[in-house]
């Protein structure tokens, strides 16, 4: 294991020392010097994730597809989303935009002396149990993620953004990152607030975070298998998440308002939003406006969804009717 870590660190150091640091120095951005290792590691993790998608998840999709399509044209745009997201372009844009917001949040905490107790301060017993402490933080973040996802479905204006993620008729292992830029921004602000409230995860668990992203990519994969009737109550599997991406119909107008969990299905089980009927359903949305995302490129989708958001905001007093499917 130490050997693998050494290789990882050597690659990271080489990128930092030969490419990133000289560029930061040359262009006078040494303020970000301390952030550079994190950025480089995130990029490296992105490359690993793309490698796993290509070498593991795509062969699985070929081997046992849940849905058969004559071609995968509609799925191609999701590759662009994945590359932009996992190779750091979109996170960089989000970081730049959020920088002042983050400063404002920090000042708010400082000026009002809002020093909240962290998990380990509230439960000192957890201090010397790093794995258990991590599990606690992971649970809290996944719980926060569950409620973020529910809000994305509940507020009409937010659904206008999030419906882009659902409009894909060919949901594949590339679809996890198919989100509107504003949706990514809102999620980042939300998690920044969560981080201020409960603290942030220590960096040593980066591998486990990578694994959770892998679970999310796999859960979108077009495969007709799950983890079995016991394990699928523990970890989100492709069956579980495919139900969440199911196209609403007159018979099941709210089928996509289920199975919100990203990694752990326990929240759906607890709050009554889980559906474990193991039925195969087509994916996508049943409103023509959102369905029109299919066939558009990345730019076209971003523009179309921005328009959809504007209309949803204007129609605030007539929530959901114009936007939500089957209502």
């Amino acid at each position: 294991m130490q050997g693998l870590i050494d290789i990882w660190v050597d690659v990271q150091s080489w990128i930092l020392e030969t490419v990133v640091h000289p560029l930061l120095f040359r262009f006078g951005y040494m303020t970000f010097f301390e952030d550079a290792p994190f950025v480089v590691e995130t990029l490296m993790l992105g490359v690993v994730q793309i490698g796993v998608i290509l070498l593991v998840f795509r062969p699985l999709e070929r081997l046992a597809p849940a849905e058969q399509w004559p071609d995968r044209k509609l799925a191609r745009v999701d590759i662009v989303y994945t590359l932009l997201s996992k190779l750091g372009v979109l996170p960089f844009v989000v970081f730049i935009v959020l920088y002042p917001v983050n400063d404002w949040l920090q000042d708010l905490v400082r000026d009002n002396d809002l020093v909240l107790p962290t998990v380990e301060q509230s439960v000192p017993w957890l201090r010397d149990k790093p794995l258990l402490l991590f599990a606690t933080y992971f649970l809290l973040y996944d719980f926060a993620g569950y409620w973020l996802h529910r809000m994305q479905h509940a507020f009409p204006w937010w659904w206008a953004l999030h419906s882009l993620h659902h409009s894909q008729r060919q949901v594949t292992c590339w679809s996890d990152d198919r989100n509107h830029l504003l949706d990514d921004l809102l999620a980042s602000v939300y998690f920044a607030v969560v981080a201020l409230l409960i603290g942030v995860q220590p960096g040593q668990y980066v591998v486990l975070l990578l694994l959770s992203r892998m679970v999310e990519s796999l859960s979108h994969a077009n495969v007709r298998f799950g983890f079995g009737r016991v394990l699928d109550k523990v970890l989100v599997d492709p069956w579980f998440h495919r139900t969440h991406h199911a196209r609403a119909s007159a018979a099941e107008p709210h089928i996509h308002d289920s199975n919100f969990g990203a990694v752990l299905p326990i929240w759906d089980l607890l709050f009554g939003t889980s559906v474990y009927d193991y039925k195969r359903r087509p994916t996508g949305v049943d409103t023509a406006e959102a369905d029109a995302d299919n066939g558009k490129g990345w730019v076209g989708q971003q523009i179309a969804v921005a328009g959809r958001l504007a209309r949803a905001v204007l129609a605030t007093f007539r929530p959901r009717q114009a936007i939500r499917p089957a209502e």
Partner: protein, 402 residues
């Protein structure tokens, strides 16, 4: 199938960390045996080891608080942990959970406690500087990134790098007295020789800020250059050196003129500055981009030697004999020991993510805001004025292993 060796000494040391004698024996590599599924007693030097255990336990009881000059504390700033490194085996012997993102550490004015700031947990952890054991914690210290005690021992000052402020606390009870919001990224600090001011570098807004400790107000600000970091108050009390991480130089700031009067090129990413043991006229400057450490003469204001230290050298500390420096390599997740005479790396130790602050128990540690106690002459007497029993143990036990 090859079996991994079980280092019985190491196990013993872990079981009784307070038992300094066992620790020293483990460090010396005694009792290393090759294991089967469990280690085989037939290959185990039972009689000798039982005798050694008995002697060890007896001596440990006799000298329970014996000092360990071998201990190195490394703060893994991208984790919630600190590493304890043994300088004799050159290995990480323990990793302990503390508050998240610990960056810097500082001895209390009486030298009896080592204070560690955990920035995102907003708390201070106090360690026994000799054994490394946790003694107490103080909460609600907002973003304690850089720490310092005023030389008169009256004030405890923190620079909140993330939150952009400097806090002044009563050193006796850590009660907040004043919070001074500043511009951007307060990173390092130094106290003026007359005890009147604390100087703080602003890594984001490229300034040096002087705070008067009596009035607890900012009294002047000077632009010093790109990304200023480490500080060193010169012996003349009139000037201060500032490491410029965004440049390749150290700036000399005149405190009366309140401006930079000279730049001296050291290396790209000049960062932190440390006084050499027993010598106020020479300092070490870490150059993080160049991967070098400059030996700098403060009287001539020039670099007199350069030591290669790849991996972005950041903080460092001196061994008790003053012959080695131990340097943290942030992104390489290692600390390296460099012999100052040969300028060679003599050891590399794997630690946690982003190792930052480092402390070596001894008279030459840089983590001391107040005047150090009288300095002993060699490594072995660093903490105890005369040779301790643990130091004599290998000699006592040597016949058992012949």
């Amino acid at each position: 199938m090859a079996q991994s060796p079980i280092n019985v000494g190491s196990v013993l040391a872990r079981c009784g960390r307070k038992c300094n004698v066992a620790f020293r024996l483990a460090s010396a590599g005694f009792w290393r045996v090759r294991s089967g599924p469990l280690y085989t007693m037939s290959s185990f030097p039972t009689r000798r080891c039982l005798a050694a255990v008995a002697l060890t336990v007896g001596l440990a009881i006799a000298t329970p608080a014996a000092a360990s000059p071998q201990l190195v504390v490394v703060l893994n700033s991208d984790e919630a942990s600190l590493s304890i490194v043994d300088r004799q085996t050159m290995k990480e012997v323990d990793k302990r959970s503390i508050g998240r993102e610990p960056h810097h550490l500082m001895l209390t004015p009486d030298g009896k406690e080592l204070v560690i700031g955990s920035t995102t947990t907003n708390e201070l952890t106090f360690l026994d500087p000799i054994t490394g054991e946790t003694r107490r914690r103080i909460r609600n210290i907002l973003d304690p990134y850089q720490l310092g005690f005023s030389p008169d021992g009256k004030w405890f000052v923190t620079a909140a790098y993330r939150m952009n402020h400097v806090d002044i606390y009563e050193a006796k009870d850590f009660k907040l007295v004043k919070r001074l919001p500043l511009q951007s990224l307060p990173s390092h600090m130094a106290f003026t020789r007359d005890n009147a001011q604390v100087l703080v570098t602003m890594q984001g807004s490229n300034q040096l800020v002087a705070i008067d400790l009596a009035s607890q107000e900012v009294v002047w600000t000077a632009d010093v250059g790109e990304a200023p970091a480490g500080l060193y108050a010169m012996p003349d009390g009139k000037r201060v050196l500032v490491g410029l991480t965004g440049e390749d130089a150290v700036a000399v700031v005149d405190l009366a003129q309140k401006r930079v009067v000279k730049w001296v090129v050291t290396g790209k990413g000049a960062h932190n500055i440390f006084r050499m043991p027993n010598d106020e006229t020479r300092v070490l400057v870490t150059n993080r981009l160049d991967g070098t450490i400059s030996l700098f003469d403060t009287t001539k204001l020039e670099v007199i030697d350069t030591i290669r230290a790849p991996g972005g050298p950041d903080d460092l500390d001196f061994t008790p004999d003053g012959k080695q420096i131990w340097v943290t390599q942030r992104w390489r997740r290692k600390v390296v020991a460099i012999d100052l005479a040969t300028k060679q790396i003599v050891a590399t130790v794997n630690v946690g993510r982003s190792p930052h602050g480092i402390y070596i128990n001894g008279p030459h540690t840089v983590s001391r805001s107040v005047a150090p106690p009288p300095e002993p002459t060699d490594d072995k007497t660093a903490q105890t004025p005369k040779a301790s029993l643990p130091d004599l143990l290998p000699k006592v036990l040597a016949p058992l292993f012949r």
